[in-house]
């Protein structure tokens, strides 16, 4: 028992993984919506050991001005890892990896947001990783779409995300840190459950086409579950007082207050 990653037994005789999960089992996921008062919308996600916070501002005036699009809103995402989020201190500030993740997440979100409703504006999404344990981009995207809905941004559906991968020659769901570090492949996937569209797909490592298909199918099934948890989190935020919602009737014609 050396303890070096090479002889780490990622899957045991009973077919269970290092943290006792079955190959197609996801880590426990908990989502809380509306956790930040200052942001227009926010969400907090705990996914296994991952802790991720997302905040949304806007639609607001787009700065710098030259980025404004006269036809639609710009979804600008900023993914950041706290210096204390990983075992060795992460050097703070943007780097290649966080740039990449910011870009793919904003592209995934742009796909579902009705950007044409808010020309010339930007919708700013900030994702802060407080604690990382593999799969933070999926956790970040999951949190970001809940935060967007919480901010009241019109969108086609919530984006759910989950990863699949290959560990010890087995296709597994939602890789943990050890599995990610010494596994053979990782496929993060962002999914729109209503339409079945895939809005984020990456692959790190090697997989045969069959393994890839299996992994994607597993991840999609998991995304459906993630989506349920997202919806529940948003509904829960208002359900405390929603059993007796009075709001719907006060509005109908938006009466105007005359001077």
């Amino acid at each position: 028992m050396g303890g070096t990653p090479t002889d780490l037994k990622l899957i045991d005789e009973r077919g269970l993984r290092i943290d006792g999960r079955r190959p197609d089992e996801m880590r426990p996921l908990r989502i809380e919506a509306g956790v930040l008062k200052r942001a227009d919308g926010s969400a907090y996600v705990e996914w296994g050991q991952n802790k991720v916070m997302a905040a949304v501002y806007g639609p607001r005036e787009c700065h710098p001005r030259h980025l404004q699009n006269p036809e639609r809103a710009l979804v600008q995402c900023n993914y950041n890892m706290a210096s204390f989020s990983v075992e060795d201190r992460k050097r703070p500030g943007p780097d290649r990896r966080s740039h990449e993740i910011s870009k793919i997440i904003s592209e995934a979100l742009t796909h579902v947001v009705f950007t044409e409703y808010f020309p010339r504006t930007s919708i700013d999404v900030y994702i802060e990783v407080l604690q990382a344990n593999a799969g933070t981009r999926c956790a970040g995207l999951t949190a970001a779409s809940v935060a967007l809905a919480d901010a009241g941004v019109p969108m086609k559906d919530l984006v759910a995300a989950c990863a699949a991968g290959k560990v010890a020659d087995t296709v597994v769901l939602d890789l943990g840190k050890e599995e990610d570090n010494s596994g053979q492949a990782d496929i993060p996937l962002g999914y729109v459950p209503r339409t079945g569209e895939i809005v984020l797909l990456q692959m790190d490592g090697d997989l045969s086409p069959e393994e890839f298909d299996k992994g994607v199918r597993m991840a999609i099934d998991a995304c459906r579950k993630v989506s349920e948890i997202q919806r529940d989190a948003l509904k829960r935020r208002y359900s405390a007082s929603s059993a007796d919602v009075d709001a719907a009737q006060a509005v109908p014609e938006m009466p105007k207050e005359g001077p």
């Binding site: 227009d40 919308g41 806007g58 639609p59 607001r60 005036e61 006269p70 036809e71 579902v112 009705f114 409703y117 808010f118 020309p119 010339r120 504006t121 809905a149 919480d150 901010a151 009241g152 941004v153 019109p154 969108m155 086609k156 559906d157 919530l158 729109v192 459950p193 209503r194 997202q230 919806r231 948003l234 509904k235 208002y238 359900s239 007082s241 929603s242 007796d244 919602v245 009075d246 709001a247 719907a248 009737q249 006060a250 509005v251 109908p252 938006m254 009466p255 105007k256 207050e257 005359g258 001077p259």
Partner: protein
């Protein structure tokens, strides 16, 4: 507070992507239709009417609509216009022609300066959301004195109430002069005690906007505050 339309509504909270109806109805605000089905596009309360289905949002930014009465704040002065912040993603320039005074070129600063509060009306919104506002209508003016508070724009209809019932009650009970802008800014003027009372009531409305018997709660708060002062 009963309406024939809302009788049908189930007060169900919906999330973007939720299926609202198979078809037959018009997709109202907060919804979109695709392939003959209507889905929610915003987090809010499902509202079913005879001919349409819509979602009353629980949050969101103020997006100006033509005809809206808004409380704005002057943030910049140009030679022939003032730039007004109307609490929306879009800046609103107020041109000298849209003002009840005769203003010479370059003399805008003599009439209103940065920080002034104005009651204005949105008179035009084009396809790229360029906003035109005007102060030339009955009752529109620069607001002097008083104070301004902000509520979430999605709660404005709640502060106003059905046919202005809530705001009328606030005015009667506190004796304050109150203007509620569609942009979520509320201007209040009156005696200090009464302003405090009105602000508390509006905060209550904002916090409990979707609870039943809101009018009674507000009424109770207003009368309680009154008796507390006498003690």
């Amino acid at each position: 507070m009963e309406t024939n339309d809302s009788k049908e509504s189930s007060r169900e909270i919906v999330v973007p992507g939720d299926l609202l109806a198979i078809s037959g109805k018009k997709a109202g605000p907060g919804t979109y239709s695709e392939g003959g089905k209507i889905f929610a596009s915003q987090l809010g309360i499902k509202t079913v009417r005879q001919d349409s289905i819509s979602v009353v949002p629980l949050s969101g930014q103020y997006i100006p609509i033509r005809g809206d009465l808004v409380v704005g704040k002057i943030v910049d002065i140009g030679a022939s216009n003032w730039l007004v912040d109307i609490n929306s993603p879009y800046p609103a320039p107020l041109h000298v022609n849209e003002v009840p005074w005769r203003v010479e070129f370059g003399e805008t600063g003599k009439f209103m300066t940065v920080g002034d509060i104005v009651l204005i009306k949105v008179v035009g919104v084009d396809e790229v959301k360029r906003i035109q506002v005007s102060m030339q209508d009955h009752g529109l003016r620069k607001l002097t004195g008083g104070m301004v508070m902000e509520v979430s724009p999605s709660k404005v209809p709640r502060v106003i109430g059905k046919n202005g019932s809530m705001i009328q009650m606030l005015k009667n009970e506190t004796g304050c002069r109150i203007y509620v802008g569609q942009n979520g800014r509320i201007w209040i003027d009156g005696e200090l005690d009464n302003i405090v009372k009105a602000v508390r009531a509006i905060k209550l409305i904002e916090d409990e906007s979707h609870s039943l018997g809101l009018t009674e709660k507000v009424k109770e708060l207003l009368s309680r505050k009154g008796s507390e002062r006498e003690m």
